[in-house]
């Protein structure tokens, strides 16, 4: 009997230890993702939006071509920083409609354009006051609205001192102030006192993450979400099923010619998150190839997106040669999606339930 107890004790200790080790492996992924990717990304985004707001303020004070050029360049830098944050579609970014505040896309009905044009006509004073605009439509709180003001029709008039131009610049400044404040809030929401407390400490008493696997499953889900968004929302609708159905003006950030650049940055950042968190550490020797396949496919995707550098959106979505490239990009994304959602998730013990998908 004593031998039996001893065997049971050893068995229990061994399995507890194995389970604890397994939990540590998952916890480390979340920790590395937080330290090496999430924290720097939200910090950089806060900094870039702050600079954008300062430069737009300066342009409004002294409108000239140099200032406008500088603002437009800074907008692109802000957008680049956003491309890193955009892929973190969980926690703070999806709280209080934060994602839609920064990026109201897809905007199938052209709501942003309608509201901005109406603002230009009305020149309503409450829209150029950040304390008041913050309570207005979220369509006026993000990149889409700012892009139209800085790059859309008649945006070159921003260097003039007409009442229309002055109002246009003031609206840009107000939006940029809101974006900068929201970016600061986002960074703070990710602090170790706030959401990171839950993300890094899964437990049965944690209101969001009960087990060590759940934060890692969240990261896989966010990676697959950005892949799905790139192909289903950003590339598919403007491409159309054939040339007859091409609608380049549905493309994200086409006015600033950042459509493909922003998608490429999303993909680069997804790869960076995957590598910096060391997702490969969850794979055993037999399934390690999955991690290599994912990294290789990200590289292939980057190579394909490089081919669209400098190609105007109209041309890219209309010309056969480029349409082929875009289709190849979508195939590459589909391969990555399958690798992550099925092969990797299965090998790493993170498979999502068949009946747990959104919208069913």
């Amino acid at each position: 009997m004593r031998v039996l107890y001893l065997c049971l004790l050893i068995l229990t200790l061994t399995s507890t230890s194995a389970s604890a080790n397994e939990n540590i492996a998952y916890d480390k992924i979340a920790e590395r993702a937080f330290i090496h990717y999430i924290q720097p990304a939200v910090k950089k985004f806060e900094a870039e939006t702050s600079v954008t707001s300062l430069l737009i303020g300066a342009l409004c004070e002294n409108p000239d071509q140099k200032g406008l050029t500088s603002v437009r360049q800074q907008f692109k830098r802000s957008l680049k920083a956003w491309s890193a944050v955009e892929i973190l579609r969980f926690g703070p970014l999806i709280t209080d409609n934060n994602y839609e505040r920064f990026q109201f896309y897809p905007d199938r009905k052209g709501l942003a354009l309608k509201i901005i044009r109406r603002a230009f006509v009305s020149r309503a004073p409450d829209l150029i006051n950040p304390e008041l605009l913050v309570n207005k439509s979220i369509v006026l709180h993000g990149f889409g609205a700012l892009e139209y003001i800085l790059f859309g029709a008649n945006s070159d008039t921003l260097i003039r001192e007409t009442p229309q131009a002055i109002y246009r610049c003031a609206l840009a400044r107000t939006i940029s102030i809101i974006m900068s404040r929201n970016a600061a809030t986002l960074r703070n929401s990710w602090s170790s006192k706030n959401f990171a407390r839950f993300f890094l400490n899964p437990s049965v008493t944690n209101p969001i993450y009960k087990t060590s696997r759940e934060p890692v499953a969240e990261l896989i889900k966010t990676l697959t979400t950005i892949l799905q968004a790139a192909t289903d929302q950003k590339l598919g609708p403007p491409l159309g099923k054939d040339r007859k159905f091409t609608r380049p003006k549905l493309a994200i950030f086409y006015r600033s010619e950042q459509t493909f650049k922003s998608i490429q940055n999303n993909m680069k950042n997804a790869d960076k998150l995957f590598q910096s968190a060391r997702f490969d550490q969850l794979l055993d020797e037999d399934s390690h190839w999955v991690s290599t396949a994912i990294t290789t496919e990200f590289a292939n995707l980057d190579r394909l997106l490089n081919k669209l550098h400098g190609i105007p959106v109209q041309e890219a979505f209309l010309e056969k040669k480029h349409r082929v490239t875009i289709s190849l990009i979508r195939i590459s994304i589909a391969v990555l999606y399958d690798h992550l959602k099925n092969t990797y998730a299965n090998a790493a013990g993170l498979l999502v339930g068949f009946n747990a998908l959104d919208g069913d």
């Binding site: 969980f90 926690g91 999806i94 709280t95 209080d96 409609n97 839609e100 897809p106 199938r108 979220i138 839950f198 209101p207 969001i208 009960k210 799905q228 968004a229 192909t231 289903d232 929302q233 598919g236 609708p237 339930g353 068949f354 009946n355 747990a356 998908l357 959104d358 919208g359 069913d360």
Partner: protein, 378 residues
């Protein structure tokens, strides 16, 4: 005519009282063609993913064994039986546009009906009380309007018109015991097939329970959740004998919040949400996958597949009764002994003998996945 809606390409209809209530001409699809097939047996149906990754709709017996397997061209969702149990219909999961119509007694070959251009299915449908019409939730995706498609069973499931669902993103649908009122869960989420399964209007969601006159499509009642719950998408529902609608929701807000996900409603009254013990609320992961009443109507079961739980309520007192653990458990159907048959995405079918009593595994095939819903007839 249907007031205020039916212009342009929209097809309207008014189902006459005579058509609705009287018996109709016997057709290929109607009763009488094959009177004895599986008569007297209780049948169940559910969609599933097969070992090879293909999809099908399956007719089952009470022991969870296959009776018939009908291949599908894509993933299904729910299955509806005709009132006489001879026809089963399985519309595609969103945003699919195919719908299987099959005989449970081999009296006609399975056939596929297709959603019209500009529409797709949401995976749910229901027969009129006399079995002459089939109503299914559809999306008019260009205009982001919820639609109830109307199909004439006697005319080979020809689509003869449509009603508004009085909301966006209609999902589950049922008929009240009076046979005169359709109730539909408008989830409130706008989607468009060009954008995959992306949710396009989360900040502006407005879910509702809409009650619609079967005969003319008029709105009879519209129950809306309080503004602070506008992200609580009403997805699934079940109607018990006294006409009370029990419904299950999926919350699209912050994961730090755990609002009540199960509610009940009677026409003309305010919505009532149920209470769960605090320690359970967070475990459901803000997601209810299916809800069904037992045959006596005194107990309702709701599944939370993300939380791996099936929960039970007393419909008379509204009291929470308890729960059972089932990994990725989602499909629920009432059994003849007043209990429930449960199915899971990990291939299991189990029964609760006396709800919410013990869970008995009837079959387990980890290589297949049962889809979200299970339906019974008999």
């Amino acid at each position: 005519m249907l007031p205020g809606y039916l212009s342009g390409s929209m097809h309207s209809m008014e189902i006459s009282r005579r058509t609705l209530l009287a018996s109709a001409t016997v057709s290929l699809f109607m009763t009488g063609k094959c009177p004895t097939a599986r008569a007297g047996t209780v049948q169940f149906a559910s969609c599933r993913r097969e070992v090879n990754g293909s999809f099908s709709a399956v007719l089952l017996d009470e022991a969870g064994q296959d009776l018939e397997v009908f291949p599908l061209q894509g993933r299904g969702h729910d299955v509806a039986f005709s009132p006489d149990g001879r026809i089963l219909v399985a519309p595609a999961r969103r945003p699919g546009n195919f719908c299987l119509v099959a005989s449970t007694s081999n009296s006609f070959a399975p056939r596929i009906i297709t959603a019209p251009i500009g529409r797709h299915f949401y995976g749910h449908g229901v027969f009129s009380k006399n079995g002459h019409f089939y109503f299914t939730t559809e999306n008019d995706f260009e205009n982001a309007i919820g639609i109830i498609g109307i199909y004439d069973v006697n005319r080979g499931f020809m689509r003869i018109g449509e009603y508004r669902s009085y909301g966006v993103g209609p999902h589950d649908i049922a008929i009240l015991p009076d046979g005169k009122t359709i109730v539909v869960a408008n989830g409130g989420i706008e989607t468009h097939p060009d954008y995959g399964r992306a949710k396009l209007n989360l900040p502006l969601m407005k879910p509702s329970l809409a009650y619609i006159d079967v005969e003319n499509g008029n709105q009879v009642d519209l129950a809306i959740l309080h503004d602070n719950l506008h992200k609580l998408s009403i997805r699934h529902l079940t109607v018990i004998a006294n006409g009370t609608v029990w419904f299950g929701c999926q919350f699209q807000g912050s994961k730090l919040e755990s609002p009540a996900l199960i509610g009940h409603h009677r026409m003309g009254e305010p919505i009532a949400m149920t209470h769960l013990p605090d320690e359970l609320a967070g475990q459901l992961k803000n997601y209810i996958g299916s809800i069904t009443g037992n045959s006596a109507g005194d107990i309702v079961a709701a599944s939370a597949p993300r939380g791996n739980l099936v929960l039970f309520w007393n419909t008379v007192t509204g009291a929470y009764l308890g729960n059972k653990s089932m990994k990725d458990g989602c499909g629920i159907a009432a059994t003849s002994d007043n209990g429930f048959l449960l199915s899971s995405g990990s291939g299991k079918i189990a029964a609760t003998a006396i709800s919410p009593g013990s869970l008995t595994t009837l079959s387990s095939r980890p290589d297949i996945s049962w889809d979200n819903h299970m339906t019974n007839h008999g």
